[in-house]
């Protein structure tokens, strides 16, 4: 059984996995980091989005062994010392969630957008969220939250 090592939210981790073990399974089952969700398991809904070496990817369509040596950030790595990340705070403030199932993926996807584009227009935010599906909000407040977070992060 292959052994895999990576850095998750700043902490070095190692685990035994099968070749077929998905990154999202490794995060949730081996590391108990259950904030990363599995929605569709077909790389469409984006509930499983995490960052691998600074880029957002779908952890349900990545093998754990492919992340060997990588730096992973999950939703659990976003808050600092108990303070919500500005994107998380904006989702709370602007009611960017209802049931919350898609939210971890939305936040991680938005974080990748804002590191590329610090002031995205509404169409740019909507286009970027192509790979994140929400069945509650109608997206309106998610878009509002991401633009508010962008403004807060620009200072």
């Amino acid at each position: 059984m292959p052994s895999v090592s990576m850095t998750v939210n700043g902490k070095a981790v190692t685990g035994e996995v099968e070749g077929r073990t998905l990154l999202v399974e490794f995060l949730r089952q081996n590391l108990n980091l259950t904030g990363t969700h599995v929605g569709c398991d077909t790389s469409q809904c984006g509930a499983c989005v995490v960052h691998v070496n600074g880029k957002s990817i779908k952890a349900c369509t990545t093998l754990a062994v492919q992340a060997e040596g990588a730096e992973i950030i999950t939703i659990e790595g976003m808050a600092t010392n108990g303070d919500l990340h500005p994107i998380q705070a904006a989702f709370k403030e602007h009611h960017g969630l209802q049931c919350g199932f898609c939210t971890p993926g939305m936040v991680m996807s938005a974080a990748d957008l804002l590191q590329r584009n610090s002031n995205p227009s509404e169409p740019e935010v909507r286009e970027w969220l192509e790979g994140n599906i929400c069945r509650c909000t109608g997206y309106q407040n998610i878009v509002k939250a991401i633009q508010a977070a962008a403004q807060a992060m620009r200072g």
Binding site: T42, G46, G131
Partner: protein
């Protein structure tokens, strides 16, 4: 997903050796098609050979009058690359329209063309721009590379290493995407350049990407959308599914071809 032996070679030679010692080995680029396929148990290879750690397969360079893209280069890199954006903006735009941002961060050009999904974007880019596929064995013209639905000219032990795109004078891509998957219901790349005047269609053909010679002839006279007025493709050999009938796809080929030529400027 059934289990498999996983290999992550650092060189093409190592990859070939892992492939040849496997009873039923499969090469993996970014895994954005292969992993969903394995999950559905539509394939169950004994070994998966991950090409992502082979550094010589990634990167984008300008070589003479061509842009050469390593097979392991992901769609987001192609979309965001300054050389591609300035020399072949239609190719950057095409890459930017594949899937979603997360898929574009992992899916690779080599993986896409080796898979040759009949609704994928890259086959239209390669054929529509007259590209050349480089492998560990040879160079193959795009026209000869795509041989049918999910079929290519690749041998079992052949690995795509790069794709060379001659820089066109003009090129445009227009796609009518499936709103859910973003795969092309119809996508058309039209170009004029060192590879001649080309019109390549993806998403519509039962056998995958194809060229439309009647449109190429019309555009060779005058490269404008008006030149395509009245030129149509027959619906006979086009795909029909719940998304679009063959007749509707034939209509879309005409509309997308005009939009592609308009986009080429």
């Amino acid at each position: 997903m059934y289990d498999f032996n996983y290999h992550r070679p650092k060189s093409i030679d190592e990859a070939l050796s892992a492939l040849s010692s496997a009873s039923d080995g499969k090469l993996m680029g970014g895994g954005q098609t292969l992993l969903p396929t394995l999950k559905q148990r539509l394939a169950s290879p004994s070994d998966v050979v991950d090409l992502s750690a082979i550094s010589e397969l990634s990167g984008i360079t300008e070589q003479g009058g061509a842009i050469v893209i390593g097979a392991g280069t992901c769609h987001a890199e192609v979309a965001g690359n300054a050389s591609v954006q300035s020399k072949i903006p239609a190719l950057a735009a095409l890459a930017e329209g594949i899937g979603d941002p997360q898929v574009r961060n992992r899916g690779t050009i080599g993986g896409s063309i080796a898979n040759n999904d009949p609704a994928a974007d890259y086959p239209a880019a390669l054929v529509g721009l007259g590209a050349t596929v480089k492998t560990n064995m040879r160079e193959v013209a795009a026209d000869d590379f795509f041989t049918g639905m999910f079929e290519t000219a690749l041998a079992d032990d052949e690995i795509v290493t790069a794709v060379s795109f001659p820089v066109p004078e003009k090129a445009g891509y227009a796609k009518f995407p499936n709103p859910a998957s973003r795969y092309a219901i119809v996508g058309v790349m039209a170009s004029k350049g060192p590879a001649g005047v080309r019109v390549a269609v993806t998403g519509a053909g039962q056998g995958g990407v194809f060229r439309v010679s009647a449109m190429e002839t019309a555009l060779a006279g005058h490269f404008s959308a008006e030149a395509l007025t009245g030129v149509s493709v027959p619906a006979d050999d086009l795909n029909a599914d719940l998304h679009a009938s063959a007749e509707y796809r034939a209509h879309l080929v005409g509309v997308m071809a005009k939009r592609a030529v308009d986009a080429a400027g």
